[in-house]
C-alpha cells in the first residue's frame, strides 16, 4: 500500500514566487487497484506522482510505500521502497538512448543488479507485455520505430524493473488512434492479468470511466474528490470545482434526455436501447 499523510509541496519557498503545488494531502492506494488521477494542468497531478516515486521530497508530511517511510535514513530500505514504484513519464520515448531496443529495455534492470540471464528473461517478458515481438524488434534501433512502438519500448524498460506499483503520466498523449487503443488495452491487461497496481494520470474521462476502479480529483493542489468513477461523475459539485467534464457518453445521454448513471459506451448503448425499446 502507498500512503500519504498530510503531504504538502511548496515550490520556491520563501521567495516572491512561492507556490503551493500540493496542499495537505492524505490518501491511501491499495495493492491491485487501478487509480486514476484527474485535474487541470497545474492542479498538482504530476507533482503528486513525482513525490510518490521519490523524485521530489515533500516540503512537509510523510509518504510510505509498503510501510517504509520514503524519507527514512536507512538508505537501503529507502532504495528498496523506491524501487517498488515504476514511473512512466509523459512522452517517455524521448528518453530512449541505447542503440537497440533490447539494450534500451535492459538498461534499468542491469542497473538494478540483474545478471544476464535474469535481464534477458525480464526483457522478453516486458516486451511481450507491451505487445512487441522479441525476435522482430530486439535488434532494431529505437529511431527506426513508429511513435507508438517507441513509447512501448520505453514502457517495457520500466516494466523490466518489475515495479509493484506502476505510475503512467498520460501514456496515450500524441499517439494516433490505433496506437492509443492498443496502449490502453495493454495497460488494462497488465492490471487484469498481472494484477499490477496502476496509477494513471489522464485527461480523458472516457478512458478513466472504462479503466479505473477509483478516481482521485485534484484542484489547486487539494484533494477535492475521491471515489469510484461513477460516484465522481455523478457529483456535479466536484466536477465543477475541478473544471472537469463527464465522459462523452454521459453528456450525450443527458442531451437526449435519458436519466442514467452510465459512464461507459457499453452502458450508454444499453441505456439508449432500453429507453427506445420501451416506447
Amino acid at each position: 500500500m502507498i500512503e500519504l499523510q498530510n503531504v504538502s509541496l511548496i515550490y520556491a519557498r520563501k521567495t516572491p514566487f512561492e507556490r503551493r503545488a500540493i496542499d495537505d494531502l492524505s490518501l491511501k492506494i491499495d495493492e491491485g487497484s487501478f487509480t486514476a488521477i484527474a485535474g487541470h494542468t497545474g492542479s498538482g497531478k504530476s507533482s503528486l506522482v513525482q513525490m510518490i516515486s521519490g523524485l521530489i521530497d515533500p516540503t512537509s508530511g510523510k509518504i510510505f510505500v509498503d510501510e517504509i517511510d520514503l524519507a527514512t535514513k536507512d538508505r537501503i530500505k529507502a532504495r528498496d521502497a523506491r524501487r517498488k514504484i515504476g514511473m512512466v513519464f509523459q512522452y517517455p520515448e524521448h528518453q530512449l538512448f541505447e542503440e537497440t531496443v533490447e539494450l534500451d529495455i535492459a538498461f534499468g534492470a542491469k542497473n538494478f543488479g540483474c545478471d544476464e540471464v535474469e535481464t534477458l528473461s525480464r526483457v522478453k517478458e516486458s516486451m511481450s507485455l507491451v505487445g512487441l515481438d522479441f525476435e522482430k524488434f530486439r535488434n532494431l534501433a529505437p529511431l527506426e520505430l513508429s511513435g507508438g512502438q517507441r513509447r512501448r519500448v520505453a514502457i517495457a524498460g520500466v516494466l523490466a524493473l518489475k515495479p509493484k506499483y506502476l505510475i503512467l503520466d498520460e501514456p496515450t498523449a500524441g499517439l494516433d488512434p490505433s496506437a492509443r487503443k492498443s496502449m490502453l488495452d495493454e495497460i488494462s491487461k497488465l492490471h487484469r492479468k498481472k494484477n499490477s497496481t496502476i496509477i494513471l494520470i489522464s485527461h480523458s474521462m472516457d478512458d478513466i470511466a472504462t479503466l479505473a476502479d477509483r478516481l482521485i480529483v485534484l484542484s489547486h493542489g487539494k484533494l477535492v474528490g475521491d471515489g469510484s468513477p461513477r460516484t465522481i461523475f455523478g457529483n456535479k459539485k466536484i466536477l465543477d470545482q475541478a473544471g472537469l467534464a463527464r465522459p462523452r457518453i454521459s453528456q450525450l445521454l443527458e442531451k437526449i434526455g435519458i436519466d442514467s448513471d452510465a459512464i461507459t459506451i457499453d452502458e450508454g448503448i444499453d441505456a439508449i436501447l432500453k429507453t427506445k425499446g420501451r416506447r
Binding site: 494542468t41 507508438g148 490505433s178 434526455g257 429507453t275
Partner: protein, 272 residues
C-alpha cells in the same frame, strides 16, 4: 492557393538507405478552405506539412503557393509570408521573454514599419483572445494560451494560410477547445486552414479530409463521406468520431438515420 503536383519525398534513414515518405502526391488546396489531414504515425502527414511552406523541398514533383514554386530559394520569404506554420509543442516555438515581443518577431524579420507592427501585434492578440496577456512572460501561460500566442505570431505576418501540425496533441481538454475554437474562427474569417490531427472530432467541420496511408493518398473526401465507411477508416488505423461510432452501434438494434456525423445530429435523432 496551394497546388501539389506529383510530389514525392525521400529521406535517408539511420542505416543510410533511401526511404520514401511520400509517393506521387497530387492535390489542390483552395483559398479559404478548411483542409484536414489524417493518418497514423509515419503516414507522411508532417512531411507533407513541411513541404507546404518550403521547410522541405520535394525530391520530385513540385509545390506551387499562389503559383510560386517552393523550390525557388529567392522566393522563400514570399512563400513563408503566405503560408505560416504552428507546431505541436508550444514550448518549442516561443522565443521571446514577453508575449508581445514573441508575436512581433516574425514581422520584425520581414522589415515591417514599427508602427505597423504595433498595430498588427495588437490585432493578432485580440483575434486569439490573448490581448490582456500581452505583457506576460510566456512560461506563465497554459499550453492552450501558448499555442494561441504562437498562432498570433503567424497571424501578425498576415499569412493567408496556416498549417497546424497537431496543435492540440499536448494540451488538456480546455486548452484543446480554446485552440480549436481559434482555428475555426480564423477560417471563418477567410484564412485557409490545413489541420493535421489525431483527433477525429476536430475534423468533422472541415471542408475536406485527406487520409494519408504509407505516404500515399488514400482518400480525399468530405467528412461525411469519409466517416460513412467505417471499415476503411479502421483499416487506415483511424477511428470514427464519437457520434458516428455510437450511431453505428445503435443502428444494429434500432432505426437510426443514415449519415449521422455530429453529436447534435445524433441527439436530434434520439430526442425523447
Amino acid at each position: 492557393m496551394i497546388s501539389v503536383e506529383n510530389v514525392s519525398f525521400d529521406y535517408v534513414d539511420v542505416d543510410g538507405n533511401s526511404k520514401s515518405a511520400l509517393k506521387n502526391i497530387s492535390l489542390e488546396i483552395h483559398d479559404g478552405e478548411f483542409f484536414a489531414i489524417l493518418g497514423t504515425n509515419g503516414s507522411g502527414k508532417s512531411t507533407l506539412a513541411k513541404l507546404f511552406n518550403a521547410l522541405l523541398i520535394p525530391t520530385s514533383g513540385k509545390i506551387l503557393v499562389d503559383g510560386i514554386d517552393t523550390k525557388l530559394e529567392d522566393e522563400l520569404w514570399k512563400i513563408r509570408q503566405r503560408v505560416g506554420m504552428v507546431f505541436q509543442n508550444p514550448d518549442n516555438q516561443i522565443i521571446a521573454a514577453i508575449v508581445e515581443d514573441d508575436v512581433a518577431f516574425g514581422c520584425e524579420n520581414l522589415g515591417i514599419d514599427p508602427l505597423e507592427i504595433r498595430r498588427r501585434v495588437d490585432e493578432s492578440l485580440e483575434s486569439v483572445k490573448m490581448l490582456e496577456f500581452k505583457n506576460f512572460a510566456p512560461h506563465k501561460l497554459s499550453g492552450g494560451q501558448k499555442q494561441r500566442v504562437a498562432i498570433a505570431g503567424v497571424l501578425a505576418m498576415k499569412t493567408r494560410a496556416i498549417v497546424f501540425d497537431e496543435p492540440t496533441a499536448m494540451l488538456d481538454p480546455i486548452g484543446r477547445s480554446e485552440v480549436l475554437e481559434t482555428i475555426r474562427k480564423l477560417n471563418s474569417q477567410g484564412i485557409t486552414v490545413i489541420l493535421i490531427t489525431h483527433f477525429m472530432e476536430e475534423t468533422i467541420t472541415a471542408d475536406r479530409i485527406l487520409i494519408l496511408n504509407r505516404g500515399e493518398i488514400a482518400r480525399i473526401e468530405t467528412p461525411r463521406e469519409i466517416f460513412s465507411d467505417a471499415t476503411s477508416i479502421r483499416n487506415f488505423g483511424l477511428e470514427l468520431p464519437f457520434a458516428v461510432e455510437i450511431a453505428n452501434r445503435l443502428r444494429k438494434k434500432i432505426k437510426i438515420p443514415r449519415n449521422i456525423l455530429t453529436e447534435s445530429e445524433l441527439v436530434e435523432a434520439l430526442k425523447i
